[in-house]
Structures are given as C-alpha cells and as structure tokens.
C-alpha cells in the first residue's frame, strides 16, 4: 500500500459569492506516491483554480492541502517549492535575461545564494556539479543544443520543456504540469507523452492538468474529472471512459466541439 503524498481535503474556493471550487461540501481527493494523476474537465470546470490551490498560488476558502505532512494552504509561496512541490505554468515562464543553461541552474536550491557564501566564495566548488546536473537534465528534455542560447529563441514547446527541466533539477517530490500540450505541435505531443511516461516510470509522482482528454487517458494511471468545480468522477482511465456521467458531461461536449 503506497502512502498518499498529496491530500486535498474538503477544499473550497470562493471568489466573492461564486463557488469556484468544491461547492458546499468541498473537493477531496488524494495522490498516492508514484501516481500519474490526470486532472481533467471541460472549460470552466475549475481545473486551473484547483491547480492553483494545490500549488499554493491561491489559498483555499476552507479545507486544506497537505503535501507529505506539510500544510500548503497556510505556507508561503517560496516555501511550497522547498517542501518538494514543483510546477509549470499554463503560459511558460522563463527568465529572459538568463541563458537556457542558467535558467535550469537557477532552479536548484542553492546554498551559494547567500551573502556569506558570495563573500567567502564557497559557492564555486558546487557550481561545477550543478552545471553538470543541469546539462544532464537538459539532455533529457532534448535541449542540449540550446544550452547557451537565450530563451527568446526557444519555441513554445521548447519553453515548456525548459520549465520541466528547471523543476527536475530540484528533484521535486511531486511535479504539477499545467496544460503541457497547450501550444505544442501535435507531432511533438507524442514525444511529450513518452517523456511523461518515462518520468512516471522512474517512480515520480505527477499531476497533469489537461483539457486534452485523449492525451491523458492514454498515459495517466488515475484520473480526476471535475465539473462546475466539483468532483464528477475519480478512477482509472478505463473506469472514466465507461462512466456515463463523464460521457454525458465531458465526452459529449468534447465530441460536439
């Protein structure tokens, strides 16, 4: 029995009077360690809000989000990353004044980022190991040839991979990906799904938000379906595919679109 790494417990989020997530009872689900969880739902279902609640960008109105025993709903944004939660953004965010390699190197928690370390020069010995690790990660995401490039020269898909690389160098306990296929060339999507399957195969815990249902059903091993901010269904891709509520609410709408 694997333990639950992330527990979303009776979470609600209201914007003014609007019940964005959780309705009255609250949204609850958990992510066991090593799971590849897909979070799906039609537009406006509350996927992004849920994602932001898990990653600590938004604070829940009630309920709690616990990562490995630590309450994210009261933690500061920078601490959440230090607790082991890695995330990407729906619109990729890179640091334009840094090179591709530096964008990844800056991702690591670095003891060299203190004034004392700068003063003593004690960051230097570690820098080489960090550089090697960053290069290794960049090779994994297929950006080896771009390491000295400026990020302005990267394509949308490459920026997404750069974000993933920046998180992987931190070795997060759980990695949250926000719409990884958005803006990515269909020919690259197959490559992306292989990459995610590889990460999962290494035992990493992944949570992927997508509106591209077919993409997720092929590779996730557990799926949470949201509708109107509430849990519609929760199960394996096989169960989800045959769930009539999901077919009515989501697949129907998807096929109609």
């Amino acid at each position: 029995m694997t333990r639950d790494l992330l527990v979303v417990d009776k979470v609600t989020k209201r914007f003014g009077g609007l019940k964005a997530v959780g309705g009255d009872a609250g949204l609850s689900f958990s992510v066991p360690e090593g799971t590849f969880l897909g979070l799906i739902g039609p537009n406006g279902a509350g996927k992004s809000t849920t994602f932001n609640l898990i990653s600590g960008v938004l604070k829940p109105t009630s309920g709690s989000v616990i990562l490995d025993g630590k309450d994210l709903s009261t933690a500061r944004a920078s601490d959440i990353a230090s607790f082991g939660l890695g995330r990407t953004f729906q619109t990729p965010r890179a640091f334009p004044s840094l090179t591709v390699l530096e964008n990844v190197m800056v991702g690591a928690d670095n003891e060299g980022e203190t004034l004392l370390s700068v003063f003593r020069g004690s960051w230097r010995p570690r820098e080489r190991a960090l550089r090697d690790k960053a290069k290794e990660v960049l090779e994994r995401v297929g950006l080896t040839e771009r390491i000295n490039d400026v990020v302005a020269n990267l394509s949308g898909g490459e920026l997404r991979m750069l974000e993933v690389a920046r998180q992987l160098v931190r070795d997060p306990k759980i990695l949250l990906l926000d719409e990884p296929t958005a803006g990515v060339d269909p020919s690259l999507q197959a490559k992306l799904s292989r990459f995610l399957v590889d990460l999962h195969g290494e035992g990493r815990t992944l949570v992927v938000v997508e509106h591209n249902l077919h993409f997720l059903l092929q590779i996730a091993d557990s799926v949470v379906v949201l509708q109107n901010g509430e849990l519609l269904s929760n199960g394996t891709p096989g169960e989800i595919k045959s769930d009539e509520k999901v077919i009515a609410a989501y697949l129907g709408a998807d096929h109609a679109a």
């Binding site: 920078s78 990353a81 953004f89 965010r93 890179a94 004044s97 530096e102 190197m105 060299g112 998180q167």
Partner: protein, 309 residues
C-alpha cells in the same frame, strides 16, 4: 598645476565619487528591479554621520547636539552604517511595493530626511549645516589634497565595482536576475523574493554611505542644500547614459556626465554676463546632448562591447 590638469583631477574625483552611487543604483534597479528615487538620502545619511561623528562637541552658536570628535576612520565606518540603517528603515516597509509605487515612497523618504535636516537643527545646524568638517591630513603622503581625495574616490569606486561584480557573477546574482525577470516563476523554484530584494537594497546602500563620507571630507561642509533631489536625478541620468546592466557602463556614464559639467565650468569667462549666458547655454546643450546620447547610446554600446554582464 595647470587648469587642464586641475579639471581632469576634479573629473576623476567627482566622477569616481558619483560612480559609486551609479553602481549602487545599477545593482538596485538594473539587476534588482527596484526603482529608488531617494538615492540622495543614503548619500546624505553617510555625509551627516561622518560629520557628526568626527566634529567637536558643540560650542558658541552651534545648535547641533552631538559631536563625538572621533577619528576620520570611525566617521567613515559610521557613514556606511548610517546609510545601511536608513536603508533598513526605509526598505522594510516599502519593498513589497512594485515599480512606480516604490519610486514614489523612496522619493518621499528622501524628502522627509531633507526636511528633517532643515527643521531639526539639533542634528546639523539646520540650513546652515556643519562647516569645517574634519578630515585626515593629506600632507602626510606628500601629495596635494586633490590628488589624495581623487585617489580615495577612485579606490572606493574600484572596491564597489569589485564587490558588486563578485556578487553578480555568483549564484546569488543569478537568483537576483531570476527574481527581477519573473517573481512568480522565481517563487515556483523556491526563491525567497522578499529576502533577496531586501538584501540587495540594504547592501547597495552601504557604498553610497561611504561615498557620502568622502564627499563630506572633500567639501568640508554638509548642509541640506547639497543633498537635494537633484543628486538623485543626476545619478539616474548617469545610469541611463551609460546603459543599464553593465558595471563599466555605469562608470563611463557618470564620468561623461561629470566631465561635461566640469568642462563647461572650466571655461574662463570675461564678464558676469558671459558666465550667465554660458550657464543657460549649459542647460540647453545638456538637453541636446541627452537626446543625442539616448538616441545613439554610444557609452552603452561601448560598455556592452567590453563587458557582457
């Protein structure tokens, strides 16, 4: 010494001195992303701290309360501490603010300090200021005072440039760049934005305090008029002229601006009328030069070619 050499020496002296301010501003703004429109306040804090620590206790018509009569080096250290303390005081409540809001609050803090110095005469005799500021005897080295102080300003500039370049070349500099580029993304990789911004703000104010002490030594006078908002804008213009983000650019921009002003002042005038005309012409020519420089950015291009930062 002939006039040309005198002018050159003055340019090196004040150019180096104000370069320290430009370098600090470069770190705060171009790298740290914080707009400080109160630069002069940290400069004034350093100058006044130096004067108060080194001057004799009050007597006669003096209205100031404290004069410690301590040696110059104690005053110099006090100047750095005073600027740092003022940065902690002003940075703590304001650094959560972004962009123009931070610009306004830092400007307001500087105006408050200026007003305090004018009205609270027990600090430094109000508008009269503190004259005959103590300074080390330069004759010990057997050189003229101007050469000694120009050298001291140059050394302070080099030390500041060295310290900042060392900071920026480290993982710390990388983290600062990341925070300036995108705070949300920086938080997502665990960067403590508040800590980094505060540290950069406080750290970069220390050399400004030292420069203030040196300025007090050179002029042997501190009064509120010397520390008006004009100083802040002067430093900002120097930074823009030199182009942001390079250490060499900050220095070249400041030197060029000081050089231009000193060159105009060095022109010998036959009559008061001629000097008056020259003074107004200086403003016009300065304006035209700014436009020309901003259009073609010669100093920025020069600095970029020499040193990619």
């Amino acid at each position: 010494m002939n006039t040309l050499a005198q002018t050159a020496l003055t340019i090196v002296m004040f150019g180096s001195l104000f370069s320290v301010l430009t370098l600090s501003l470069n770190l705060q703004y171009a790298r740290g992303g914080m707009i400080n429109f109160g630069t002069v306040a940290y400069f004034a804090a350093g100058a006044y701290a130096y004067a108060i620590v080194t001057q004799e206790p009050p007597h006669g018509l003096d209205q100031y309360l404290v004069g410690l009569d301590a040696p110059w080096w104690a005053g110099f250290i006090a100047a750095g501490i005073a600027a740092m303390a003022f940065a902690i005081l002003t940075g703590w409540p304001t650094l959560r603010l972004r962009g123009e809001y931070l610009a306004l609050t830092t400007f307001a803090f500087a105006e408050m300090l200026s007003s305090l110095l004018v009205n609270e005469r027990r600090i430094g005799n109000g508008t009269v200021g503190l004259a005959n500021v103590e300074r080390p005897d330069a004759n010990i080295l057997g050189l003229s005072e101007n050469i000694v102080y120009a050298g001291a300003a140059f050394l302070l500039m080099l030390a500041t440039a060295y310290a900042f370049s060392r900071l920026l070349a480290s993982p710390y500099g990388r983290a600062i760049d990341a925070v300036r580029d995108d705070e949300v993304a920086a938080q997502a990789i665990g960067k403590d934005i508040a800590r980094l911004r505060f540290q950069v703000f406080v750290l970069s104010s220390i050399p400004i305090g030292f420069a203030g002490a040196l300025y007090a030594m050179i002029t042997t006078l501190v009064n509120p008029n010397l520390f008006s908002a004009e100083v802040t804008f002067f430093v900002w213009i120097a930074l823009v002229l030199g182009g942001e983000r390079t250490i060499l650019g900050a220095v070249v921009g400041t030197m060029a601006l000081v050089g231009f002003q000193e060159a105009i002042r060095a022109i010998p005038f036959e009559s008061v009328r001629a000097a008056e005309i020259a003074a107004s012409a200086e403003d016009i020519v300065t304006g035209i030069l700014f436009i020309v420089i901003l259009r073609w950015q010669p100093f920025a291009a020069f600095a970029r070619r020499r040193q990619p930062a």
